[in-house]
């Protein structure tokens, strides 16, 4: 399907991408190991917000908590699908 949308994409390139994403834990690492794919925490968002404020990228006075919700995550989705190894 991806190859149909983007003819330049090859099986080799797709395989490389998936392997690299796994190698670096892009999707599944840290909080997701316990809370499932898509995991977010107040602490991590707060920490990121704080860093970005200090870097001068984000205004300090915004209510950053409006930017996300934890309603749909941290339910352990996909934990049962992880390969046992």
């Amino acid at each position: 399907m991806i190859k149909k949308m983007n003819p330049e994409m090859t099986d080799e390139l797709l395989g490389y991408s998936v392997a690299k994403m796994k190698e670096y834990g892009i999707v599944d690492s840290g909080d997701t190991l316990r809370d499932g794919i898509g995991a977010m925490t107040d602490a991590r968002v707060a920490s990121f917000f704080d860093k970005m404020v200090r870097a001068g990228v984000v205004r300090r006075d915004i209510d950053y908590r409006q930017a996300y919700t934890l309603r749909f995550v941290n339910k352990g989705v996909g934990l049962d699908l992880r390969p046992k190894n």
Partner: protein, 212 residues
């Protein structure tokens, strides 16, 4: 994205009663705007900064999941440049330190090593938050000021054609560019940078004998 396509292809979405259509992304699309306009229901954002940006601008968007736990950034070069490390002088050019492309180097650290005539190695290291051309020029002003303080004179590469633009800039024989302000006093550029908060420069210059 790949996983989403697979779920669509293997019927997982349909099984859970979801009618899903995936539209292509990439640099030639602006799906983020389409989400805001209600043309899309979900959008895979680049990072949480975009979510903060939405709050800043009173755009009613909410991040519902962090599919990527990390935000990988890569430097790309063309094969003919033969650049394999950021430390290589040519890499400074390639990374857009002096380029005109402002989208490059959003938050990056570039190390540049230059040979000086005296056989010493001057290490310049600066972490730059280059957002605008003005900021980049300010950075260049500072680097030039540093060179003057050190007495200048950077050794060119053996093959002049292979010298980077960075090295050419530091060439004492070169006429100063007219479009940039020249600093009468070394260090003034840096102070102005900090004063105006144009750039965040963390610069360390270590002079040490080169191993021969």
């Amino acid at each position: 994205m790949a996983a989403s396509s697979r779920r669509l292809a293997d019927g997982t979405y349909k099984k859970y009663g979801l009618d899903v259509t995936i539209v292509p992304g990439g640099p030639n699309t602006n799906n983020r705007i389409l989400l805001t306009a209600g043309k899309l229901d979900f959008f895979m954002s680049a990072n949480t900064l975009q979510s903060f940006d939405a709050v800043t601008n009173n755009v009613p968007l909410v991040a519902v999941a962090a599919i990527f736990q990390k935000d990988p950034q890569v430097f790309l070069t063309h094969p003919e440049t033969k650049i394999t490390k950021l430390e290589e002088p040519q890499a400074a050019d390639a990374a857009g330190v002096q380029g005109r492309r402002r989208e490059l180097l959003p938050v990056a650290e570039v190390r540049i090593r230059l040979q000086r005539e005296q056989g010493e190695t001057l290490h310049l290291q600066f972490a730059a938050l280059h957002r605008e051309q003005a900021e980049r020029d300010a950075g260049l002003c500072h680097l030039r000021a540093l060179r003057r303080r050190e007495g200048g004179g950077l050794q060119a590469g053996r093959d002049p054609a292979r010298r980077s633009r960075f090295q050419r800039l530091f060439d004492p024989d070169r006429d100063p560019p007219r479009d940039r302000r020249q600093e009468a006093r070394p260090g003034a550029a840096l102070r102005r940078c900090f004063r105006d908060r144009l750039v965040q420069l963390s610069l360390s210059a270590t002079i040490r004998p080169a191993t021969r």
